[in-house]
Amino acid sequence: MIAALELTANYYLVLAALLFTIGTVGLLIRRNVLVMFMCVELMLNAANLTFVTFARELDDVGGQAIVFFTLVVAAAEVAVGLAIIVAIFRRRRGATADDVHLLKG
């Protein structure tokens, strides 16, 4: 039998860090707005995972409470963000972030 793998907090944290990094890198290198949007969601959830981990580790329910707030914010963000993306799609027949750069100095 496989040696009992003890799931310490470190695993969760490392996973969260990985997810966060993937999200960040994805945000920076991908041009598709939809993908970038998903990357942002990934980063948010990485943060959520960290919160939950510490909440359990420290036996403090506050961390879990914050996750609820984050989820609400994320939901709102999704609503607005997707609306924007749909608007861009209708106008431009594509969703490349770099094409949308009218607002510049």
Partner: protein, 673 residues
Amino acid sequence: MSARELLDLVWLIPALPLFGAVVLLLFGKRIGEPAAGWLGTGLMGLAFAWSVVTFLALRDVEPRAHSYDLFTWLPSGGFEVKMGFLADPLSVTFILFVTGVGALIHLYAIGYMHGDARFGRFFAYMNLFAASMLVLVLGNNFLVTFLGWEGVGLCSYLLVSFWFERNSAAVAGKKAFVTNRIGDFGFMLAMFLIFARLGSLDYGVMTEGADGLANGTATAIALLLFLGAVGKSAQFPLHVWLPDAMEGPTPVSALIHAATMVTAGVFLVARAHPFFEASGSASEVVAWVGAGTALFAGTIALVQPDIKRVLAYSTVSQLGYMFLALGVGAYGAAIFLVVVHAFFKATLFLGAGSVIHGNADNQDIRTMGGLRRYMPYTAAAFIIAWLAIAGIPPFAGFWAKDEVLADAFFADQFGVWAVGTVAAALTALYMAREVWLVFFGNERFRAPAGGDPVEEHAEETPRDSEEWLRGPTVAYGEPPRSPRLTHDRHEVPPTMVVPVLVLAALSVVGGLLNLPFKTLEHLGHWLEPVFEGVPEIEATSFLSAARLSTLSVFMGVLGIAIALLLYRRGLPDPARDPLDERLGVAGRVFGHAWYVDESIARAVAGPGRRFADWLNDGLDHRGIDGAVNGVADLVRRTGGGLRRVQSGLVRNYALGVVFGAAGLLLFLVFRAG
């Protein structure tokens, strides 16, 4: 009412003409021609009546001064100024002749300004002028006096350039205003200094505090006040505005020269005498500036061809005498001369106005002559005033001028006395020249045969004709204007003759105010409480006083004799003035007023203009504009660099956020670590 209650109402005296000014400014046009003039004159008459009441009330009051605060004008922390009035012998003397002579000049102006398009406005300004002067003399602190001082300056500007369609009049008004500003600047600095040292601008505080000042401070205050007086009273080198002020209507000249404005400087020095007494050296300056101006202006008056310009320089010269008297400490004599000068100079100016009025606006004495046959009353009045100013006894001027010179002599100021005595001969000479050229000798006013006679009356000169716009003032060196034949020379209407005759009568008897015989020295005794503490100048002996009087009469007679010798037949050729020709080069220097105006003009046009150019180009454009534009440029460049950051590319922003977050994280880690 008790005397003190009456004296509380002294503010009515400036308020009456001020009321007239407001009414006439608002409704002058509707009130219409003679009525507006009568309103102005009537209010001045009332002010005179109230001045007499004030005078009688003041005689019942001991001590002879009554200060009354109407309201607090400027409450501002430790600096509080009241709108307060002071009735004391000095101010009451001034208000009596300002309102008296002023009312007569107003009366005269009704006739003189007949037919003018801005008749009502003229009287509004005249009333405002008189009101300002009354505020000036009645104020019980320096700031109220300064209020009147500025009002007088403003009104002189408005009245000198009353016929502003004429360029020369507009320029003369500006010149008067700007020149006066220089003096006002001195007055203001003096006030700052007084407030800094004494903590109050009140005259009462001044009287008590002036003695305790350091000599240097007192001298500085006195000299700064004197700078103000020099500007207002047209002393060298700020006299330049007064002759040009002749561009105004003649009643204005009379008002400026006789009753108001120019005597303000004399008043200020007399009022602030504690500073001058505490300083000593400042009085020396006053005496010498006065004596110098008396001589200087006298020489200029010798060769002027314009009837009013001669009088203008004569005023400058007479004011010089007044300052001479103030400088030697003979304050009573100075005030005496102010009063009698108001009488005879008003007579002269109004007489000159009548001559101009009756002569188709001609002011060139070279083309007059023999006018006594056509204007007998004016001639009689003018001749009386001439004898008065020339110092011939028993006319008023003799007593005053003699007292001034005698006081200078007995105060051991022989230098100024000698200069003043020489100037006395000049006074007699230039006035005799004017009288002879105007009223005696050959008649030169008819147009030459074959000339182009202009058949019209003075009143009918159209106000927009070229002739009118050029202005009547004749400058030295101008060829005589060809005289214009009118129907005949005529005497002026009674509203103009009567004031002139009244003033002439006063010029005869004015000396009675202050005869130099102990008990008859009314004005001197009356003014004593004001000049308490000033050492009295006593004649060393009756004989020496009599000798001095003889000498001054002799100087007067000498001047007249020279004039008669040169001008007894008038001018055979109007273009050739025998006195001018005999003086040669000196005549040209005198005629051009010692080139003072030209020098000032050249200094302004030369270094003045270069300095202004430098200010404009170097300081303003490069310095100040440069700084402003430099700041703008810096901001613009910085912005131009920074705008590249906002690329519009979302991923760039995200990169910025990532780097920012990373940086923040590193910072926290290392600080925490």
